[in-house]
Amino acid sequence: MGKDTVISVEHVSKKYCKSLKRSMLYGAMDIGRNILGLSSKSDRLRKDEFWALNDVSFEVRKGETLGIIGPNGSGKTTLLKLLNGIFWPDKGKITIRGRVGALIELGAGFHPLLTGRENIYINAAILGMGKEEVDKQFDEIVKFADIGDFIDTPVKFYSSGMFVRLGFAVAMYSRPDILLVDEVLAVGDVQFQMKCFSRLKEFRERGNTIIIVTHDMGTIQKHTEKVILLERGLLSCIDIPRNALNQYLSLMSGGIRANQVMSKLRWGTENDSERVKTTKPPSNNTQEDLCPRRFNYNIFEFRYGSGYARIIDFQIVNNRGEEVTSVRSSEVILFRVKVKAYKFVEKPILGISVKTKDGIEIYGNNTLYADIDVPPLKEGKQLLVEYRIHFNLQSGDYFLSAGVAEMTPEGISPLDRRYDLVHITVLPSDKSFGLVNLATDIKVYTK
């Protein structure tokens, strides 16, 4: 364990039991063994058991914010519970340096009949605070929770917003070194969420560590430095947010893992970690795929799909017809994409999206939404699509993604999606601030 490592997870596995009756039996057996001082032999599976987490290893350094993403049932919450010591790992070892606070559910442990005041003391005690600590911070907790006169009202009469605010306030003021957050911030209103995040930011700036489980891509992008993607109990990647999110998105929308598709089409056999960094164009197709030759091409693009139709070229052109790598804010650009079919595609759908360099999707559209008829594409034929985009964005770096999919009776099937295919820089044209350039005309009238 390194010097500034605060959490070290080494080959950790956790199993659950599918059958309740068997779970009772196993529970009694495990307890019996533990009391008698025998090893619980937790490293092997019994009937009806499965690994909810399987051989997960990672480290978190002091001051880092780690995101955990993954589809439902991939083991995110189980991982948090293991880190918090609520469950024991069945295999492997977890080492934690410092006091851990958990926001697994806000207001867990609140008793509905008791008042806010009573619940603050009880909840604080459960979270490991001493009496003096609570006395000292009581006023601040109440102020942060913003519950005013309701402090002496039973919490069952609280609105759900007040309830979670109070829960968050108590947990934040328990001053942990490491905070585990499980999807809890989604419950409050926008104002409360902003307050929470600014509080979390302060917390991080003091050199503390945060681990966030969420389905909200924006949260991951804005607040984390490193992301773990879990997939059915396995750690499928640890990477910077943008790359991990791309992989997650492909997992969610494709339904099938990209590497499975790729191996089927014999597009080379890169292993997982390489694949995350870069998806090299297939060697037998280099001549057809002209994208890497373009100046704006992003070698870290992320690509997946069945490959029955492929994006083989693109071009970024400004309104004077020149090929460009940067545009001025609020300029219009033409994004041309060339698609070739390797099989008959009856109902093609073509689409794009624009992301910030943090991976936040700003805009997306496709021929289906725009209600544009795309003719069927015969095998070996090509198609050119031109997107005219008003680039009303502030200066900075942006990524354009392009995709081609097919409408089938079962739904939309991705043929070739190339996330972050194009890197484009927006140059400042006038002074303003924010995410987008709404090009405001300001007029002042004096009476």
């Binding site: 533990n34 918090n84 008791l114 009880i122």
Partner: protein, 281 residues
């Protein structure tokens, strides 16, 4: 501040050896005194908040049982036996000690299950939860003792001066209750039938223990009473208040020893398995 390092791995406790575990258990209990008190407060406040009669229920229920016994005795169905003091004092004292045990045990058995959602979301000492549950039994006990005092005044009698030693003589009863409570709370966490089984067993046990009647002199109940630890735990403090002395010292001391051993063994077992149980809650 000292850096705290926590390690979680399978069979964690076993690696450290048995002796150091005892040290751990007691540091944990000491550190969590305030938590235990807060959990007790939570149970106590919430139990009586949405009720009109509140704590008075602690006195109403025993009075009903005593009334039933008086009726049974008068009609000759049941022979209470020779007790030498007004029956209501004898019975209420018996009930106070008995219920201290039975209420405590029921509360302990259900403590982990009732706190289930909390256990799955926050990591805290589950021992505090069990102890706080047992402590709930103090409230009705205190009220029943107060009622006994009123009865003493009403009958114009005075309890023995030795009655002031009661807190000491309660310790074995407390340890016995907690010891069993640690054990049953674990079992109930895994198999929910335990809660119901305990309620039924306690009902039977009450009738097999001379709580509302005197120690029988004939019949099979004599043997049952002789080997019933609860008889000694209930009758010793009662004798002390009524007579100023304990009639069966030897039996009481043996039961005290059993209670202490039971407590430590169960506390130890609880410590080794409390996290395992969390998975089954």
């Amino acid at each position: 501040m000292e850096e705290m390092i926590t390690i979680y791995e399978p069979d964690n406790s076993l690696r450290k050896g048995y002796l150091s575990i005892f040290g751990q258990i007691f540091t944990e209990l000491k550190q969590n005194r305030w938590l235990t008190y807060q959990l007790f407060k939570r149970d106590f406040l919430s139990a009586y908040k949405q009720s009109l009669l509140g704590v008075l229920w602690a006195i109403i229920l025993p009075l009903v049982s005593i009334a039933i016994f008086i009726v049974l005795n008068r009609s000759g169905i049941l022979n209470i036996g020779d007790i030498g003091v007004p029956y209501s004092i004898y019975a209420l004292l018996g009930i106070a000690f008995w219920q201290f045990f039975s209420n405590g045990l029921v509360a302990c058995s259900n403590s982990l299950v009732n706190a289930g959602p909390m256990i799955l979301k926050i990591n805290f000492s589950k021992k505090s939860l069990v102890i706080a549950a047992a402590a709930k039994a103090i409230v009705p006990f205190a009220i029943q003792i107060a009622m006994v005092c009123i009865l003493f005044v009403g009958y114009g009698r005075t309890p023995s001066i030795m009655g002031f030693l009661i807190p000491i003589f309660l310790i074995p009863l407390v340890l016995f209750t907690l010891g069993l409570g640690f054990f049953t709370s674990l079992l109930n966490g895994v198999v929910r039938d335990i809660g119901n089984i305990i309620s039924i067993l306690l009902m039977f046990l009450m009738f097999f223990t001379p709580v509302l009647y005197a120690k029988p002199k004939i019949g099979f109940l004599v043997t049952v009473t002789k080997y019933n630890p609860l008889y000694y735990l209930v009758s010793a403090p009662r004798d002390l208040i009524l007579k100023g002395s304990i009639s069966e010292w030897q039996g009481f001391l043996i039961v005290c020893l059993i209670a202490v051993i039971l407590f430590f063994v169960c506390l130890f077992g609880f410590h080794l398995t409390e996290t395992r149980v969390a998975e089954r809650i």
